[in-house]
C-alpha cells in the first residue's frame, strides 16, 4: 500500500484526524505536566478540603485539599505509560505466538491456538485480579499483567496473516532461493502482516487505559499517593453525595482519551482498507 495514498485517505477522515490531534495533545499534557499543572499534585492543604470548582481550583479539590486538575494532568502520565508498556508486552507476545503458529503450523499451531482458546475462557478481569492477588498491586505489576492477558487477539491476527501469506509467490520464491526460517519470517512475512497489528495495538492502548483505570479504582492498581484517573475516582465514590467533581472530571479524562485512541485506530483501519467502511 502506498504511504501517500494512506495519508490522503487518513487526512480526509475528520474523526480520525481529531483522534490523532487529541492523542498528540495527551502526549503533550503528559510530557509537560510539571509546567501545565497549576499546583504540585501531592500538595496537601487541609484548609481547602473538598472545595467545589472555583477560580483557584478549576476542577475543585479532593479530601486532602489537593488540586484535582493538577492530579488529572499528572494522571495522564500513568495512563499513557501503562497503556503503551502493556500494549507493547501484549503485542510482543502476540506476534511471537502468532508467528510460531502461523509459520510452522502442525502441532506447534495446535498448541498455540488451544492456549489462546483457554486464555479466552477466563473473564479477563478475573485473571488480572487473581495475578494481582498473588503479586501485589503496583504500577509495574499491572502493566505486566495487562500485557500478559491481552495478547490473544494479536496472536490470532498474525497467525491468520501468516497463513494467507505463506503460500504467496514472493514467499515461495524467497524460500526456494534458500532463505532461512528467520529471514523468511522477519524480512518477508512479518512486515506484510504488521498493518492489522498496528490497528489492534492502537485500539489496545485504549483498552489498557480502561483496564488500568478500573484496577486503580478498585484499589488494586496504581496506589495513592501517585495520582491516577482511577484512584481519584475511588475518592470520588466515597464522597459521591458531597463532591461530584471528584468522580466526574477524571472519568471524563478517561472517556476522552480512550475515545481518541479508538477514533485513531478506526481511522488507520479505514485508511488501510477503505472497503471496511461499508
Amino acid at each position: 500500500m502506498q504511504k501517500r495514498e494512506f495519508w490522503s485517505r487518513f487526512r480526509n477522515n475528520r474523526l480520525a484526524m481529531s483522534g490523532l490531534v487529541m492523542v498528540a495533545g495527551m502526549f503533550v499534557v503528559a510530557l509537560a505536566a510539571p509546567w501545565l499543572a497549576p499546583y504540585d499534585p501531592g500538595y496537601i492543604n487541609l484548609k481547602e478540603m473538598l472545595m467545589p470548582p472555583s477560580q483557584a481550583h478549576p476542577l475543585g479539590t479532593d479530601t486532602l485539599g489537593r488540586d484535582v486538575l493538577s492530579r488529572i494532568i499528572y494522571g495522564a502520565r500513568v495512563s499513557l505509560m501503562v497503556g503503551f508498556v502493556a500494549v507493547g508486552i501484549a503485542t510482543l507476545i502476540g506476534v511471537l505466538v502468532g508467528c510460531l503458529a502461523g509459520y510452522y503450523g502442525g502441532w506447534i499451531d495446535q498448541v498455540c491456538m488451544r492456549l489462546v482458546d483457554v486464555m479466552l475462557c477466563f473473564p479477563t478481569l478475573f485473571l488480572i485480579l487473581a495475578v494481582i492477588a498473588v503479586l501485589g498491586p503496583s504500577i509495574w505489576n499491572i502493566m505486566v499483567v495487562i500485557g500478559l492477558t491481552g495478547w490473544m487477539g494479536v496472536a490470532r491476527l498474525v497467525r491468520a496473516e501468516f497463513l494467507s501469506l505463506r503460500e504467496r509467490e514472493f514467499v515461495v520464491a524467497a524460500r526456494s532461493l534458500g532463505a532461512s526460517d528467520a529471514r523468511l519470517i522477519l524480512r518477508h512475512l512479518l512486515p506484510n502482516a504488521l498493518t492489522p497489528v498496528m490497528v489492534s495495538a492502537t485500539l489496545g492502548v485504549a483498552g489498557a487505559i480502561l483496564v488500568e483505570s478500573a484496577l486503580s479504582f478498585l484499589g488494586l492498581g496504581v496506589q495513592p499517593p501517585t495520582p491516577s484517573w482511577g484512584n481519584i475516582i475511588t475518592m470520588g465514590q466515597d464522597n459521591i453525595e458531597i463532591a461530584w467533581w471528584l468522580s466526574f472530571f477524571p472519568g471524563l479524562a478517561i472517556l476522552v482519551t480512550v475515545m481518541s485512541y479508538n477514533l485513531l485506530g478506526e481511522g488507520i483501519r479505514e485508511a488501510i482498507d477503505p472497503r471496511l467502511k461499508e
Binding site: 488451544r114 492456549l115 482458546d117 483457554v118 486464555m119 479466552l120 475462557c121 477466563f122 473473564p123 479477563t124 478481569l125 478475573f126 485473571l127 485480579l129 487473581a130 495475578v131 494481582i132 492477588a133 498473588v134 503479586l135 501485589g136 485504549a206 480502561l210 483505570s213 478500573a214 479504582f217 478498585l218 484499589g219 488494586l220 482511577g230 475516582i233 470520588g236 465514590q237 459521591i240 453525595e241 461530584w244 468522580s247 466526574f248 472519568g251 478517561i254 472517556l255 476522552v256 480512550v258 475515545m259 479508538n262 477514533l263 461499508e278
Partner: protein
Amino acid sequence: MWFYLLKRLLLMFPMLLGITLISFTVIHLAPGTPVELQTTMDPKVSLEAQKRLKELYGLDKPLHVQYWDWLKRVAFLDFGRSFSPDRRPVWDKIMERIPVTLSLNLLSMLIILSVAVPIGVIAAYKAHSWFDKATTLLVFFGFAMPSFWLALLLILFFGVYLDWLPISGLRSLQFPQFTFWQKVQDLLAHVTLPVLGAAFMGLAGMSRYMRGSMLEVIRQDYITTARAKGLPERTVIFKHALRNALLPVVTMLGLSVPGLIGGSVIFERIFAIPGMGQLFWLAVMARDYPLVMGELVIGALLTLIGNLLADVGYALVDPRIRTG
C-alpha cells in the same frame, strides 16, 4: 444433533484441563512459594493461615504432584476452605452467591438484546441516515466509557440528584416486614441501576454487531428474490432478513459472557451487591488464595458453559451446523 452435542461436550474436557492448569500457574506465579513470599510481609495473613495453606497445597512436594493432587480435589468440586474467619468451604461460599450474579447478568442480557436488536436493524436498514449516525456516536461512547464511571454517574443522577433509586445493596432494611409486592418492588428498585449500567456497556458492541450482520444479510440474493416476487417490505425484513441476521447474535451472546462476569466485579463492588463479583474482590483484597483460585476456575467454567449453550442454541436454529 445428539452426535453434535456429544462431540461438543467431549471438547470441553481438554478446555477444562487447560483452565485448571492456567489457574494453578497463576497462583504459583510468585517466585519462591506463594505462601512465604506473600504472607511474611502481610500481617493480614496469620501464621496459622500460612501453615494451613502449605498443607492444603502440599507445597513441599514437586509442582506436578501438587497440581495433580489439587486437580483430584477440584474434580470433586473441593476447592478447600476460605482463609476468612468463617473458614467455610470455598464451593459453598461461591455457590450461594452465583444466583445473584447470574440473574443480574441474565437481566442485563435481556435488556441488551431487546434494545440492541431493534437499533441494529434500523441502523442497517437506514444505513447512513441520521439515526444510523446517532447510534454510531452512541456506540463510540459505549466503547470508551469506563464502566465504573458510568455506574457513578447513574448514582449521581438517579440516586443523589433525583433521589429516585437506592444506590446500594439488594434490599431495604425493612425488607422482612414488606408484603410480597412490596418485596418485588424493593428488589426491582435496587437492581435497576446496576442492571442498566451493565446493559449499557454491552449495548454498544451488540448493536454494532447486529447492524453488521443485518447489512450482510440485506445484500444477499435471497432478499432481492423475496423483494422481486413482490413480498411486502415488512415480510422481507422481519421474516427473511431478521431471522437470518439473528443467527450470529446467538454466538455473540455466548462470547459476551466473560465480559459480563468480569464486569460484575465492578458493578457489584460499587452497588454493594452480594454476588460472586463482590466476593472475588473481597478475596483479592484479603489475599484469600483458595477463594481466589475457586472463583477463577468457576468464572472460566461459567464462560465455557455460556459458549456451550450458545453453540447448542446455534445448532438448534441453524440446521447447517448440526448436519455438516
